[in-house]
Amino acid sequence: MSNINEILAKQIVEKLKMEKLINSNDTQLVSKLANGSMRDSDWKVALEEIINTQKVKKNSKK
């Protein structure tokens, strides 16, 4: 049985990765999103992670 929430969670995470809003190696996001345990703090951590990564890259180029 394919869980409808799992299917949609995978689609959403793929789209977020494509838009470079989250890291591609984030494995927890799909399961948390699918089982309804995603909290605001989890979103912030996931979104901040890539912002921080981009900032580090930007600074290292300087």
Partner: protein, 775 residues
């Protein structure tokens, strides 16, 4: 997953333990009974075991969970056990919370169910309620919960960003004010502020520290001085008291020289002495004889007469003690201020050159406390003037330090909040972007799911209602409202109408069933169990046949379908072989009673009816006996000819008549055609051989009597009237004998199992049928 059996004990209508044996080779189980005989109990048992729902009880507006258990049984007695080919699953009701405790706790068979109430809710509800009705199938609430969390994150980031911007603006304003007060140096407030933060203020801070220490010391001296002043007042007061009481005593003494304090003391001591003696007869001074009581009375009288003197003496003593105590306290305070003065003198001695007025203090302070205090009192004016100058200087330096700290803090706040605001702005943009993606993906997913389901529903609906000008089924979310599920269909020339307006009740019923079937199919991987609990109410013959066909077509998408119905035409389609019964396991529930509970039987009702007709001597019904016998024989022979791949005339439909079926049994088969009957041994298994019967003689007899089926049982004709009652009775009894030779007396099933590889046998093992294949 294949279902083997369901055991129910003390659950709802199961007042007695009941086991429903499933035929795991059949995809569909039909459970027929009139209402109130336990269909929903069986369906609910599966629902409660496999899901977190309570089945038909969920339809009720208020649920008394006490009635989950059967009447007159304890909560702990309830037990539901499902035996499947992948394991055994069971549940019981916990005593206090009345919740179902599952064993194992997870991994129950995946089960979807549909009841008529759901169809009614789906079709008749408002769009928002329709969404709720389908929530179990299209439930993306977990994703929605994540979406809400993202929305909350966005609100928080926006709030943090606002706070950060506000703090930043406040710091900028404060710094700008300081900058302007300083005359706007360096052309830019941040350049100026940065320079200010780099200024080394350690020297000023040290100077301030010294001055602040002097201020503190002088304030401590001042506080101690206040204490001394208070204590001096107390000393003065107590001294005045002492002198006053001394004067009073002197006056009393001079007024009566005999009554001196010495005499009073003597009398008091004599009284104390005499009262302490147990016996005393002589005066200890003059040795004259005395009487104790007389002497004590005399002493008390004299002491009493001297009470004024006594009081004055006591007052003076108290006043003197108070004075002495206050003097000690005053001297201690003077000692305290002396320590402070010595320290202060040491601290300010470096100023003596610049402030020569304090020289007498600096030079005069030594070790003697009283002398030092006098010097302090004498130099107080000069010392106070010096303090004022020190305090003024300290305040000025403090202001300079505070200003510097303020500029530094504001500058740092601007730098930090600028960085923070930049990060928060990026996070806000990312969060907002993510929210747009999540929301759009959810809606798109839902729309696509509904679209694909709409297509499936349309296909199913067309199978039931072909060429009726109906269809065009469309389910979609109304974008104007949250969770609003619209349903549209076509009606002949009208497109996109609400089907409730024009479709008949039975057409709406089948539409609802198709929607649920499509949803259940959509999310089934072929291993799910589906329960259709009394979903068909009134469907005409043609639509019922098509619906049954649809159900059989869709059965491949599920591991098992349990159909419960009280709709007799549906049952009779199977009973009369009008429906594709080969994939259906047919069960029937008999009348429920609290004493007997739910009673499950296999479909051998027609045989019971024939027996009753044959036993009814007072009303011997020739035609009914002939017809019933014919139907039973056709049913059994249909079974046998299929089992043995017998050759029968080819027909478009499998509507073979008795004669054709009997002739289908070949000579080779009949030579070996026999049954063996067994009875139960002490272990309860059919292991003891009872009898062995060759079937050829009875088949031959039936062939001889077969014409009765048509002549008497089917038509009105002259030949039928010529058939004797005894021949009809013989035909009926032979039919019963034949059926009893083949139908298991326990489960009512024919010998349809091939466990041995050499013969067919009934499920219980009570009957073995030979051979396995036609020789």
């Amino acid at each position: 997953m294949k279902l083997n059996s369901l055991y129910i004990k003390s659950f709802r209508g199961a007042t007695q333990p009941v086991t429903v044996e499933f035929d795991s080779s059949k995809k569909i189980t039909m459970l027929f009974s009139e209402n109130g005989n336990g269909k929903s109990t069986i369906a609910d048992a599966l629902i409660c075991l496999c899901t977190d729902k309570m089945g038909s009880l969920d339809d009720k507006s208020s649920i008394d969970k006490s009635f989950l258990k059967s009447l007159g049984t304890g909560t702990g007695e309830t037990k539901i056990t499902l035996d499947t080919d992948v394991g055994i699953f069971s549940t019981s009701i916990s005593g206090s919370a009345k919740t179902f405790i599952k064993n194992p706790a997870t991994g129950q068979p995946f089960l979807k169910f549909l009841r008529r109430s759901q169809i009614v809710n789906l079709i008749n509800s408002q769009a928002s309620d329709r969404y709720t009705a389908l929530k179990d199938y299209l439930d993306v609430s977990n994703i929605y919960s994540g979406e809400e969390a993202l929305r909350k994150a966005l609100r928080e980031v926006e709030k943090d960003l606002d706070n950060s911007a506000s703090t930043l603006q406040s710091a900028i304003d404060t710094l700008e004010k300081c900058w302007k007060e300083e005359g706007s140096p360096d052309g830019d407030q941040l350049v100026w502020a940065k320079k200010q933060t780099e200024v080394d203020l350690s020297k000023v801070e040290n100077e301030y520290k010294v001055l602040a220490d002097l201020v503190t010391q002088w304030q401590a001296v001042g506080n101690k001085q206040k204490e001394i002043n208070q204590y001096q007042t107390l000393v003065d007061t107590s001294e005045t008291n002492k002198e006053s009481f001394a004067t009073i005593l002197k006056k009393l003494e001079s007024s009566n020289k005999k009554n001196t304090p010495a005499l009073l003391t003597l009398l008091q001591e004599a009284k104390t002495y005499i009262s302490a003696q147990t016996t005393i007869n002589k005066c200890p001074v003059c040795e004259n004889g005395i009487v104790k009581t007389t002497v004590m009375a005399s002493l008390e009288a004299q002491i009493k007469s001297m009470s004024s003197l006594q009081k004055a003496t006591k007052d003076l003593e108290t006043a003197a003690k108070s004075y002495d105590r206050n003097v000690v306290i005053l001297n201690t305070a003077i000692g305290g201020i002396n320590t402070l003065l010595i320290k202060y003198k040491s601290s300010i001695s470096k100023y003596v050159t610049k402030v020569p007025e304090i020289a007498p203090f600096v030079n005069g302070i030594k070790t003697d406390a009283v002398a030092n205090y006098d010097i302090y009192v004498n130099c107080f004016t000069e010392l106070q003037a010096l303090y004022s100058r020190i305090e003024t200087s300290a305040v000025k330096k403090k202001k300079s330090i505070d200003q510097h700290t303020l500029i530094k803090n504001q500058y740092n706040s601007i730098i930090q909040n600028s960085d923070k605001a930049e990060k928060l702005a990026a996070l806000k943009a990312a969060t907002n972007g993510a929210l747009i993606i999540v929301e759009a993906a959810r809606k798109e997913f839902y729309d696509n799911e509904l679209l694909s389901i709409s297509s499936e529903v349309e296909q199913m609906y067309q199978k039931i209602h072909p060429s009726e000008g109906l269809g065009g089924i469309k389910l979609f979310l109304n974008p104007k409202f949250k969770n609003s599920l619209e349903l549209q269909a076509n009606f002949h020339t009208e497109q996109g109408i609400t089907p409730q307006s024009v479709y008949s009740e039975s057409h709406l019923d089948t539409l609802g069933i198709c929607i649920f079937l499509a949803l259940a199919k959509k999310y089934s991987d072929g291993n799910n169990v589906l329960i259709l609990d009394d979903v068909v109410m009134s469907v005409d013959e043609n639509h019922l046949d098509r619906f049954i066909q649809l159900l059989h077509d869709e059965a491949a998408n599920f591991s098992h379908i349990l159909v419960t119905t009280h709709y007799r035409p549906w049952k009779d389609r199977y009973k009369n072989n009008r429906a594709p019964a080969s994939n259906v396991h047919f069960l029937e529930l008999r009348t429920w009673s609290r004493q007997n509970g739910i009673r499950v039987f296999n479909g051998h009702i027609a045989l019971d009816e024939l027996r009753q007709m044959l036993n009814n001597a007072s009303n011997f019904h020739r035609e009914n006996i002939s017809a019933a016998s014919g139907r039973i024989l056709e049913n059994i022979l249909d079974f046998l000819t299929i089992k043995f791949n017998c050759r029968v005339p080819r027909k478009p439909k499998n509507d073979y008549q008795l004669s054709e079926l009997l002739d289908g049994l070949s000579k080779d088969l009949l030579k070996n055609f026999k049954v063996e009957h067994f009875m139960k041994d002490i272990s309860g298994k059919y292991l003891s051989a009872l009898k062995q019967v060759d079937l050829k003689p009875i088949i031959d007899k039936l062939k001889a009597l077969k014409a009765i089926r048509n002549q008497v049982g089917a038509h009105y004709n002259f030949d039928g009237s010529l058939v004797s009652d005894s021949d009809i009775e013989d035909f009926g009894n032979t039919t019963v004998d034949f059926a009893e030779l083949l139908i298991c007396p326990e489960c009512g099933a024919l010998p349809d199992r091939n466990k041995s590889g050499s013969y067919w046998e009934t499920k219980t093992g009570s009957i073995k049928l030979y051979p396995l294949i036609e020789p």
